[in-house]
């Protein structure tokens, strides 16, 4: 029939087969419709159920999330915020001056560890503070001693006889205490002149310099010759540390005739600046120090004379070892030239000029203590000239 077989179709219509088939088809369609309806209803019911479950889940999740957030907040506050607040409060109490207030190490391990570290630091700082306070108190106590020491290292120069002027100055490399010292000692018409330089600079060296100076001064006051005075001082000072030694220039000047007896213990030669040139007062013995066989060391006294118009300059090596920015030394020649060019000046002005020039020359750093003593013979004196002869 589908192939257009009309006769076969008519035969079937006539036999009622088509009606039966149609009824059968309609019955099948009805069954299909019922089935579809059933399936649709089932699907709707399932969708509704799923929606309800989903809504329930969302509500439960939201409630749980809310409770979880509250719980986490509570835990963070308990374990983190509060310990940090406590830490901040403790640190602030210390900062405000309650240095004994402990820093509590509480809370989670990291914050407890931080608190413990801060507390250790507080204790350490407190110990350092106590040390610093003790050191400050010691400095306050020692300052007076050091200043007294300095005043003894660089004493006031008293009145001199007419025709004589003396001036001296010591510039310490560090602070006020120095390893240099000098003294001008009136000696029943004579004038004692002492310059001592201890290797090194500072309070310890200053004390040794002072001891040496007092020993020399006592010997000169007892009319002991300069060379013997150095020997006596060396003996009295005894054994010093292996690298500690001193150099000294000791002179006794007769203010009547300008004659000088001097000893030079390994010290840079003092010199007399005169019209005829400079006369060096050379070493008369070694430095005073821990030499092998030092008991055999002897210091002799030599003599010289100052004429009217002459200047005597005694200095320590700190003066001539001052350097400029090119590492060039100030040197003894510059010092001599300065003294020669200052022969009409008064002694204080000469000292000041020499040290100012040296300072100006320097690279701004004093490596060693620097001392200059200038003795001027200003009045006319017709005494015969005797220069630098040995007095064994």
């Amino acid at each position: 029939m589908r192939n257009g077989d009309r006769n076969a179709a008519l035969l079937q219509i006539t036999a009622g087969a088509g009606s039966a088939q149609f009824d059968h088809l309609r019955a099948q369609l009805g069954a299909l419709d019922r089935r579809v309806t059933t399936v649709g209803v089932t699907a709707d019911e399932r969708a509704s159920s799923t929606r309800r479950e989903l809504t329930y889940l969302v509500v439960v999740f939201t409630v749980l999330l809310f409770m979880g957030t509250l719980g986490a907040g509570w835990l963070i506050r308990r374990w983190v915020t509060r310990p940090i607040d406590r830490l901040v409060a403790d640190v602030r109490r210390v900062r405000e001056g309650d240095r004994d207030a402990p820093i509590r190490a509480s809370g989670p391990p990291e914050i407890a560890e931080l608190g413990a570290d801060i507390d250790d630091m507080r204790r350490l700082l407190d110990e350092h503070r106590i040390d610093a306070e003790r050191a400050r108190e010691a400095i306050e106590q020692n300052a007076a001693v050091v200043l007294a020491l300095r005043s003894q290292l660089e004493p006031e120069v008293g009145e001199l006889p007419d025709g004589w002027e003396v001036a001296a100055q010591l510039r310490a490399a560090e602070g006020v205490a120095a390893g240099d010292c000098y003294d001008i000692v009136p000696l029943r018409g004579d004038l004692g002149l002492i310059v001592v330089d201890i290797a090194g600079h500072g309070a310890t060296e200053g004390i040794l310099a002072l001891r040496c100076k007092e020993l020399l001064r006592a010997s000169l006051a007892a009319d002991v010759a300069p060379g013997e005075a150095v020997s006596a001082a060396a003996e009295q000072l005894g054994q010093m540390d292996p690298e500690v030694f001193l150099t000294a220039f000791v002179a006794v000047v007769n203010t009547e005739d300008g004659s000088i007896r001097y000893a030079n213990a390994g010290h840079p030669p003092a010199f007399i600046s005169s019209d005829d040139g400079d006369i060096e007062l050379e070493p008369t013995g070694p430095l005073v120090g821990p030499f092998l066989g030092s008991t055999e060391s002897r210091w002799r006294s030599d003599t010289a004379r100052m004429q009217p118009g002459d200047n005597l300059c005694a200095y320590t090596d700190g003066v001539i070892e001052i350097r400029n920015v090119d590492s060039e030394f100030f040197g003894v020649e510059r010092l001599r030239t300065l003294i020669r060019g200052s022969r009409c000046d008064e002694a204080p002005a000469i000292v000041k000029r020499c040290l100012d020039e040296a300072q100006l020359f320097s690279d701004g750093r004093m490596r060693d203590d620097a001392t200059i003593v200038i003795l001027c013979r200003t009045a006319f004196d017709a005494s015969p000239v005797v220069r630098s002869s040995s007095e064994e």
């Binding site: 330089d197 290797a199 090194g200 292996p242 690298e243 500690v244 030694f245 150099t247 213990a265 390994g266 010290h267 840079p268 030669p269 070493p283 013995g285 070694p286 430095l287 120090g289 821990p290 030499f291 092998l292 060391s297 090596d317 070892e321 490596r367 060693d368």
Partner: protein, 103 residues
Amino acid sequence: MADLQLDLTAGDSATLIAVRGEIDMATAPQLRDLLNRVIDEGTLRVVLDCCELAFLDSSGIGVLVAARNRLGEDGELVLDSPQAHVRKVLEITGVATHLSLLP
């Protein structure tokens, strides 16, 4: 700060130390440490080659004196070829007579 360079050469009869630069308060400990080490090892004759030693101050003199004393009477501290100004410092201080100075 001044520089000091010390080069050590150990020999059979003596230890030679070439000294270059300056010996002052800052560098003297370098020389002291080396001399102490050499002397502690039993050297009796130490020769310092000083031809390139530019400066020697009282700190350096202290180190030389101490080293000379450590060497004892059987030992010898030789300063070879010191420059004129170094030699003069040693002579003024009287240290030269306790050391052996070579020209």
